[in-house]
Amino acid sequence: MLQFLKMQTFAKRTPIILYFFLSILLLFLDKRGLLDIFHRSSQVLTIPVNTQVYKLKKFLLLPVQTLTLKIDKDKKIQELETQKADLLSGMSRLQSIEAENSKLRRLLGANIPSNWQFEPARIVSYSADVISVISASTPEKKVVAITGENKGIFVGLYQEMVGQTLKIATTSNKETRIEVVVKNSLGFKTATGLIIGEGGKMVLDQVLTNEQINRNDVILTSGEGNLPPDLLIGTVSKVIKLDGQTLQKAEVTPAVDFDKLDYVFFVTKF
């Protein structure tokens, strides 16, 4: 009787077990890249839609951002006009990506060693500390993505490719661990440490208490861990010292607002 009941329960659960196996099989095949064709096909539709929706979000957030920032009226009008022009020229901008990329690459050249090589990538969306981009080529894993005009600014590390979308973990991503140096306002190195992403924010950790860190000190990549050196990550916003501890921490403000980026550049050679 008990065996009959057990068999009946198993028979009742058989469909869901089959569906579980189907999901695991799909996951297994996709992890091995065998279902890439589905991602590529769907992204023909999702990338343009996501780009437009992301631009719409930026457009909707613009009034909130302008309220919080003390920008003079002329600048506000100029920014709104730029946003409006961006929305209207969405389609034509897609066609002129190549031309824009080369312009941005020239802008990026300033104060960055001339032997560095870049690969431009256009941002599709940014959420949950991950930037989705599309690029003409696929970089190697952990390649650095940067932006900037006068100074190279560290954006994040390339994680993986899904379909034709490349994912970049930003500095506040929980998987981010970067060895850094801290420099004071005079440009002297005052400390070394580790930038750790905490989901939505980042902290400077592993700094010895006998090393000096102050508010507004700049944080740069140290060049360790196969990363390019001297890329700006952010500035110290608050130093956290705990009594009796050999290490101190600091909260860090990122050097770049990821929501405002349109392009990033993978550093393919440095």
Binding site: P15, I16, Y19, F20, L22, S23, I24, L25, L26, L27, F28, L29, D30, K31, L35, F38, H39, S42, Q43, T46, V49, N50, T51, V53, Y54, L56, K57, V124, S125, S127, A128, D129, V130, S132, V162, G163, T165, K167, A169, S172, N173, K174, E175, G197, G199, G200
Partner: protein, 142 residues
């Protein structure tokens, strides 16, 4: 809520989640509403398809969300024999749990309180829009 409506809502929501809304927002609420209106065996294809839609449109590995959704379906079917799972409070708790588990697996960088808060917001919106008798659309649940 029938399967067609569930899948259409899954498509719409997954397009908006990420670029406009938080990447984990409505799926828990949608799933519990769908499961409350359909028997487990009948709902399985819809649940699997919805998970695949979310993964495909949010550029995640196919099968991840389906596993979470099927796990939730299995859990609810186990619990329904012992506790009244289809009460509003239980459904709300399930929706939050589904979102937290999916966030933990698919978007590890999201913080759990933010996922829980966004689910509650989604729950309020969804209740106002869809609940029978109270809602504006008056969709039949069973």
């Amino acid at each position: 809520m029938n399967t067609k409506l569930f899948l259409v809502l899954s498509i719409v929501v997954s397009f908006l989640q990420g670029p406009l809304l938080p990447p984990v927002f409505m799926e828990g609420v949608l799933l519990v509403a769908y499961l409350s209106a359909n028997k487990e065996t009948k709902s399985l294809p819809g649940v699997l398809a919805s998970g695949l839609i979310f993964d495909l449109l949010q550029s995640q590995h196919l099968g991840l969300s389906s596993l979470v959704f099927l796990g939730a379906t299995f859990l609810i079917s186990l619990l329904e024999e012992h506790i009244p799972v289809y009460k509003a409070l239980s459904l709300g708790v399930f929706a939050i749990l589904i979102n937290i588990v999916r966030a933990k697996i698919v978007f590890p960088s999201l913080t759990l309180p933010s996922v829980a808060i966004s689910t509650v917001v989604a729950l309020v919106i969804f209740t106002a829009l869809l609940l029978p008798a109270k809602g504006w659309l008056k969709i039949k649940f069973s």
